[in-house]
Symmetry: C3
Subunit: 211 residues, 3 copies
């Protein structure tokens, strides 16, 4: 049990770093200053988990209980210049941290929800919200239409699928939690990368014309 | 007392269905895909009640405690095509579910607030927020300026008035809760429909010119 | 201790009035009606403190526990015409209530956070969020890009600095809380006014060009 908690925290840690970097990349595109970069990175990295904690009534919020989380984000924002230079060499440069952050947060959301409430459907929804809300918030702050809501490569669907993978693998009796987590993270990241590469989209719903 | 609770839950149930349909109609106008439709329907149907539960510190959130609520919304989003065809025959097609959802949620917000805090003013405000926030969120996601905030036919005012009707009728000694609820819902829906039909607006506040 | 609480409440009181007036000024610029004016004034005046209370899990929310707060805001919104005439004589007319409201709320956020959690960094962040979130919300509702996130005169930085001033002065042994508060409020207001007057900005982060 102890190990489970420390595993969840390690994943959260990584998700914070990866999402902060994604937030910095997002803010840099818009030519923001260091405070704006921090605000966007903070919103991207902590928006999903904060909503999760508020919805599940978890106290204290994960970044209040771990004050070094926002400090890391502040550090990344202050050294955004060098961070960007480093990250910029990797391509496709926005996609991987985005997919990984989404996957990591989605799993924490599912796991924490399952601790508090038995419903699998709620756990999968909470995972999806935790995984995607930070990105939506980042888009809103940067005044873009959130890509989550327009026909674009599958995103929330990848998170939702991965949450179910986690729940199903976990229910297969003897599986250790670690295996379920790694399987789910892999599914989400690969599903998302494939969706972007081959442009998998749902069709747009068309309104029946007025009569 | 038992009956009161089940009445409130029935109203909430209907509000969720009606608001989900309104959300689907909103999202379809913007040509979203099924995930976007679900997200908008979820935001419209659960935004107000979630804010109410967070503000009143009610645990668990009403849709976490009733996991079939978001399942219904998911079902409506998945079958959005047929739902739209069905709904499209009714005119004015966006207006009635909007007004009814607002009325139903407004009453739950007022009733739950009154359970927790004695202030009538807070109860009326909480009802208005519960009734209107989902629609505001839907507008924001669809990147429209929320109609709540621009001079347009009375909206929040109808909800606010209806909440006071509920509070006053309820305080008239012997009145059963059901009567107060039905009266308030009728007032909100009719007031809103009349406001749209005859274009009742408040005048816009003009800034005094600079000197 | 009793006095400390009443001091905090007086500051909150003033912050609510000042922020409501700022919200009315903001809404009047956009030609909103009385309901829109109230909604914007409410969001500006209560957005930061509500987020603070939700994040710190304080119950009831400060405006639910003090129902006369939103009543004051409603009064200011209803009499927005005369209020605007009165306020309009003072120049620079949007700046001072904005800076003062930010300073007052920032101090309440820092103080309440310190009561609940020992971390100074979290207290300073909570103060900054409490002080700035209302303004961000007001900008978002008025459909402006929040000035907090674009290169513009220092804003959140002033709040953040003032929160640290409060924390440091407070830790200097014998200092009464009142002195720390007044010092911090002065630093925030003067810093902000100076930043606007001499246009102190952080440079924009530029994205390293693609290669």
């Amino acid at each position: 049990m102890k190990m489970d908690v420390s595993l969840l925290i390690s994943i959260e840690y990584l998700a914070v770093i990866v999402s902060s970097i994604y937030g910095v990349l997002l803010a840099a595109r818009k030519g923001m200053d260091v405070m704006g970069v921090f605000a966007v990175a903070f919103a991207v990295a902590f928006g999903g988990g904060t909503l999760r904690d508020l919805f599940l009534d978890r106290t204290p919020l994960f970044w209040i209980g771990n004050p070094h989380y926002p400090m890391i984000t502040l550090g990344i924002a202050v050294f955004a210049g060098p961070v960007l230079k480093l990250v910029n060499r990797i391509k496709p440069y926005l996609l991987l941290p985005d997919a990984l952050g989404m996957a990591l947060f989605a799993i924490t959301g599912t796991a924490y929800s399952l601790e508090a409430y038995p419903s699998w459907f709620i756990a999968a929804m909470m995972g999806t919200i935790t995984g995607t809300f930070g990105g939506v918030l980042g888009d809103v702050i940067c005044n873009d239409v959130p890509s989550l809501f327009t026909p674009s490569p599958l995103n929330a669907t990848c998170a939702f699928t991965g949450c179910w993978v986690y729940l199903i693998v976990l229910s297969l009796g003897e599986t250790p939690k670690e295996i379920a987590m790694i399987a789910a993270i892999l599914v989400i990241v690969l599903f998302r990368l494939a969706a972007v590469k081959w442009n998998w989209c749902f069709p747009a719903l068309r309104e029946t014309p007025h009569r």
